[in-house]
Symmetry: C2
Subunit: 426 residues, 2 copies
């Protein structure tokens, strides 16, 4: 490379400053031409850089013909979407960590990029520092994927791990996580599963070369998980994790969803604790591979952004036609997504009932009537109010049938409450 | 791609047949032009293929101008080395799973490839189906690596796991593994650590962009590990694993070696059991990422070979200058490798001594005299012959000093034997 590739940096918040600080300290074969951020105060943190390269006006970067690669680290939809579209039209390659944008507007952006002969790389959008997008496109490209299961959100994994270790309630651990900076002031996007859903949709689109509509992805958060469930899960040989799950079903209908699961302790993903993330891929011919590491954070995310920048930089130093393997397939179709009620799962059901003879038998009969085989029933002693707590673990059953059975159980006079229903992964 | 890229396949043994069977069943955008194997019997396994594409003469492939990519799955040095060199001179890109060849002749081959404007990809040479070469070159390219620790050999990991679970002796488990096909009739390359050393040298060369001479890599196998060591390790919170270790030291001197280690159960790599492999990378800015999965086997290895074939195929369909990021850096220097006696480690030492007052104190004094701090001393009851077994766990110390201390301990009249010395990773 004779001339350094020039990059424009949109946003120097957490990830942007990680990228900037790493680039300042390292020769990556690229040069930061300009940085835009609406907050002029942030500029003062980098006295070693010429103040000329800072601007509050993103248009200066978008319209700079010398910038080859635009790095978008603003996050969210607006104004990031408009900036990226304008940059693509000006023939700039895009590197972004913006999972919401790729999940919601990927099709539009990839198509636009293809029309303008540029690429959009987004390794940092899924699992921060863990390489997963590139390996899926490249080393694993010869595989037929049957399942992807991931712990894709660090905040919820931290909360679940804490609840497990300390037996604490969700709300208490959430407050603690907020105080420590592991959860945001408004934690909705994390704890309700939306963040994990963006990443799951992105992985599904990539793994199956289909556009997955984010609105068709079933999402359930961890706010309904109690330490009681985590305790029983532990006794039964499971841990509770928020799982992004992608399965290739019959007739090419994809099963794509995010919800808590009891994950068998024999499954390698169950060992991923605290803020760590992991993605396990089942495919032929590789069988199973797992990638784990930091799924978020200033520097880990910067690692993936830098990898993408360098990949484009090295290619466009030599050729005008960068990264064939990273290009968007214009033939990509929209995915058919299975409705959650049509999915097949094993289930954990926690029920509180009156302590009467025959209750367990009755629950078994209701399940049997709905075509559900039970693999475990646990009742240990009585609750302090004299009621009984019963845990049912089912074999594989259709969600529709499970919901019918749960409904029947809930309507029984002896049932105090159906406390929880959690899907199970062995 | 209008015209399919043509490949030549050298060798249809275990991995070659995995590649062939996957390609037959899948459209990977490439076409097998010719297959060479000296065993004509193997041809009969593929009645669906035209017999014309088989030959016993590799030269037919090497001299076929239509073949773009030569896939070498013969293994070993001869005749693979000669075939690959001839193919490179005929401007063919190379995909290989041959770790011994890359470890011993990488520099020569990469230089020749660079002169002929072709690339050599070898994802399958390290950890079979686990993507590790491409992620290091690409997604993690912006990182400064400080350490790589890997379980790089499935046979030894299977043996150690069995020894742990069953308390069996090395020799017994080895025989069982041979009967099951998990170990070869001549298991030397695996159990003595040479196979892991090839992979470690390849990873070190790539991670630090330096040529690592395989002869300078310290290698110790698992044949000296006893179930007694594994038992004590377990009590102290460790598992025994054969580790390929790469550390970036002062003055750019690399520490590259393969030997058994006590690995803390808190370290994620300790959870990798049976025939699985894993590589953990510590680097800035990413912190730590781990890749795990099947490190060998017909189909997992085929997955990596296919990924490499497809990567080259897609690139050369569009451009004559393939994969800038996969090219060899002609500026690559030879690595300086630290001698094992200069390395710094924590150690586990198992000693059998006469059961006399003051023995433990004396061992402590010898260690202290050699600048070694102890962090644990364990003695539990007496052996059936009346002797005492003492386990020492040290803090970080220079190997040279440890060897002096062990020598002094061995020479004491009260010492029956220094049974083992194993390095420790927390």
């Amino acid at each position: 490379m004779d001339k350094k590739i020039q990059i424009g940096l949109l946003g120097i918040g957490t990830v942007g400053s990680g990228v900037l600080e790493t680039l300042i300290n390292k020769d990556c074969g690229v040069e930061i031409k300009k940085i835009a951020d609406k907050d002029t105060e942030k500029i003062k943190r980098y006295p070693e850089l010429s103040p000329d390269i800072f601007t509050t006006d993103a248009k200066e970067l978008i319209n700079d013909p010398e910038i080859n690669i635009m790095v978008e680290l603003i996050g969210g939809i607006n104004p990031a979407l408009g900036f990226i579209k304008a940059a693509i039209k000006n023939k700039k390659h895009i590197v972004t960590a913006n999972k919401e944008l790729i999940a919601k507007h990927g099709k539009e952006l990839f198509t636009l990029a293809e029309e303008n002969n540029v690429v959009i790389l987004y390794e940092a959008a899924v699992c921060g520092g863990i390489p997963i997008i590139m390996p899926l496109r490249q080393s694993l490209a010869g595989n037929k994927i049957s399942q992807i299961a991931g712990i894709l959100n660090g905040t919820t994994n931290y909360i679940l791990t804490k609840m497990e270790h300390e037996g604490s309630e969700f709300e208490d651990v959430l407050k603690e996580a907020q105080a420590l900076g592991y959860a945001e002031a408004d934690p909705t996007g994390d704890v309700k599963g939306h963040d994990a859903a963006y990443k799951t949709a992105i992985l599904a689109s990539l793994a199956f070369n289909k556009t997955v509509d984010i609105n068709s992805v079933y999402v359930e958060g961890i706010d309904g998980i109690s330490p009681i469930d985590i305790g029983y899960a532990n006794e039964l040989g499971y841990k509770v994790k928020l799982i992004g799950l992608i399965r290739n079903g019959d007739k090419d209908i994809l099963d794509v969803r995010v919800h808590p699961m009891l994950v068998s302790k024999d499954h390698p993903i169950s060992a991923i604790d605290d803020v760590l993330n992991a993605v396990e891929i089942e495919a032929e011919p590789v069988s199973r591979v797992m990638f784990s590491g930091p799924g978020a954070g200033k520097f880990p995310t910067a690692s993936s952004v830098l990898g993408d920048i360098m990949a484009i930089a090295r290619e466009i130093s030599f050729t005008d036609y960068p990264l064939p393997m990273m290009r968007y397939d214009k033939q990509r179709k929209d995915a058919d997504i299975k409705h959650i009620k049509d999915t097949i799962n094993k289930y954990y059901i926690r029920v509180t009932t009156n302590n009467m003879p025959g209750v367990i038998g009755d629950l078994g009969i209701i399940c049997g009537k709905n075509g559900i085989n039970l693999c475990s029933i646990v009742q240990k002693g009585l609750l302090s109010d004299g009621n009984a707590r019963i845990i049912l673990l089912t074999e594989f059953a259709k969600e529709e049938n499970i919901l019918k059975a749960v409904d029947e159980i809930a309507q029984r006079q002896t049932t105090r409450e159906v406390n929880n229903l959690i899907r199970v992964m062995d």
